[in-house]
């Protein structure tokens, strides 16, 4: 089982590394959207700092949302998704493997680039480290919950807007707690509670989302 997990993970990473420019797209999108905000308001450090947590978190949310397509679309189109479902390994494990690959390719880069954006938005140093922690805990949940949405919409033509419609409401708790953690940290207050909540949601998502995703994939495939 573990072997299947690693094999699929390595296959996905390899496939993604073959077209690197596509890999960078969510990242560039993330930076671009955050850059738009200072241009739209008066870019005084105070104003920027006040809106930084929200702006960075919303942009991260949208960047992940736009990249979700990659999770199953290609496999669905070329038929390898059907192959996966026929494999003797539990589908949940394979789903978890695909989600891991997705997070390594989109979530993790977002976390790494985030300090730069913190700098853009004049976040204080303590808040930047909390931003990293909160993204580190939050982005895997975005990938996991997103996987449910993609598996339901992958067979729908032009399912992009539909995907946002069904997934964004489910992202709200992550947004609230993630952005608030950064906000509170920039006032120099403790954020253990917020990070614990994100951790708890991550644990819940890891245990339930792969199950829902595999049921959804079977529904999609039965068409």
């Amino acid at each position: 089982m573990l072997k299947a997990y690693y094999h699929l993970l390595i296959r996905d990473l390899r496939l993604a590394l073959r077209n690197r420019h596509e890999l960078a797209n969510p990242l560039i999108f993330f930076v671009l959207v955050v850059t738009l905000f200072p241009l739209a308001v008066t870019p005084t450090p105070d104003a920027l700092e006040a809106m930084a947590p929200g702006v960075i978190w919303v942009s991260a949310l949208l960047a992940v949302l736009l990249s979700l397509d990659r999770l199953f679309k290609q496999d669905y189109d070329d038929g390898s998704l059907d192959q996966l479902m026929l494999s003797p390994n539990p589908l949940m494990i394979l789903v978890l493997s695909k989600v891991t690959a997705h997070w390594l390719l989109t979530g993790l880069p977002l976390v790494i680039i985030a300090p730069l954006l913190g700098l853009f938005m004049s976040l204080p140093m303590e808040a930047v480290s909390v931003l990293i922690y909160s993204l580190l805990l939050g982005t895997p949940v975005l990938s996991l919950v997103g996987a449910i949405g993609v598996s339901l919409t992958v067979a729908v033509n032009r399912g992009g807007v539909l995907l946002s419609l069904i997934i964004l409401p489910l992202y709200i708790p992550i947004l609230i707690f993630g952005a608030n953690a950064v906000d509170v940290a920039s006032d120099g207050l403790p954020v253990t509670g917020q990070l614990l909540f994100l951790g708890a949601v991550l644990a819940l998502a890891v245990s339930l989302a792969p199950l829902a995703t595999s049921v959804a994939l079977r529904i999609t495939a039965s068409r």
């Binding site: 449910i148 339901l152 919409t153 067979a155 729908v156 399912g159 539909l162 419609l165 069904i166 964004l168 409401p169 489910l170 709200i172 708790p173 609230i176 707690f177 608030n180 909540f197 949601v201 819940l204 339930l208 829902a212 049921v215 959804a216 529904i219 999609t220 039965s222 068409r223």
Partner: protein, 229 residues
């Protein structure tokens, strides 16, 4: 088929609703804090209850449809969505109209209003997914799964919105205090809630019957029924 049941639900919803309205608008005393404007709660609160209740019905019957492959359960879920969205809309609009005299603005990011808004988005997502998938059976299953995922998420969403709200509006006076509610206000409120439930029962039956006719449009029982009409 279910015609007598529908008639019974409709008539009792109408009678109980009218009696509830009479008690709520004429008999219930004026609230000492909010004056007459509080009379909006006789529709706002039952509608908010209904919005959540119908989502639960949708999720439970979707679960039954997915696990035991009962088509009727899928049809009930699909028939419930537009009614649930309607009640959510009523709860939002009446909440805003109540908010204006209370808070001085139609829209305040109050925890309940925000939760209702998110619930409305969940309903829209369900209906959008249901209509986007061509094949009826997988549309039912897919949107049903979404409803179940939504139900798992509702407590989390509700908790985080409450938490977020107390953080940003610590000073808001609790306008929705219930414990000290006068019995003459509570009775019409409960009557209206019962009337809304009966109304929902009647409408969902009519809609489910429509779904059944449409989905089985090529079957013999539908053909025979139609030819008799």
């Amino acid at each position: 088929m279910s015609a007598p049941l529908i008639k019974w639900f409709t008539v009792s919803a109408l009678l109980i609703g009218l009696y509830g309205l009479y008690l709520g608008l004429f008999v219930a005393p004026t609230d000492y804090q909010q004056g007459e404007s509080y009379r909006i709660i006789f529709i706002h609160v039952p509608a908010a209850w209904m919005s959540l209740f119908i989502y639960m019905v949708m999720a439970i019957s979707s679960g039954i449809g997915i696990i035991w492959q009962i088509r009727l359960a899928d049809m009930v879920a699909a028939a419930s969505a537009p009614i649930g969205a309607s009640f959510t809309f009523i709860a939002l609009v009446t909440g805003a109209l109540w908010g204006k005299p209370m808070w001085g603005a139609y829209w305040v990011w109050d925890a309940r209003l925000t939760s209702e808004l998110i619930l409305l988005f969940l309903y829209f997502g369900y209906m959008a997914l249901q209509s986007a998938i061509e094949d009826q059976r997988s549309a039912d299953k897919a949107s049903g799964l979404l409803a179940i995922v939504g139900v798992v998420n509702i407590p989390i969403i509700h908790y985080s919105v409450e938490w977020w709200n107390t953080l940003h509006q610590g000073a808001t006076v609790a306008k929705f205090d219930k414990p000290s509610m006068h019995i003459d206000m509570l009775i019409p409120l409960l009557l209206m809630a019962v009337a809304f439930k009966l109304f929902y029962a009647a409408v969902v039956l009519v809609r489910t019957r429509n779904e059944a006719l449409y989905r089985d449009r090529n079957r013999r029982w539908v053909r025979e029924l139609i030819e008799k009409l």
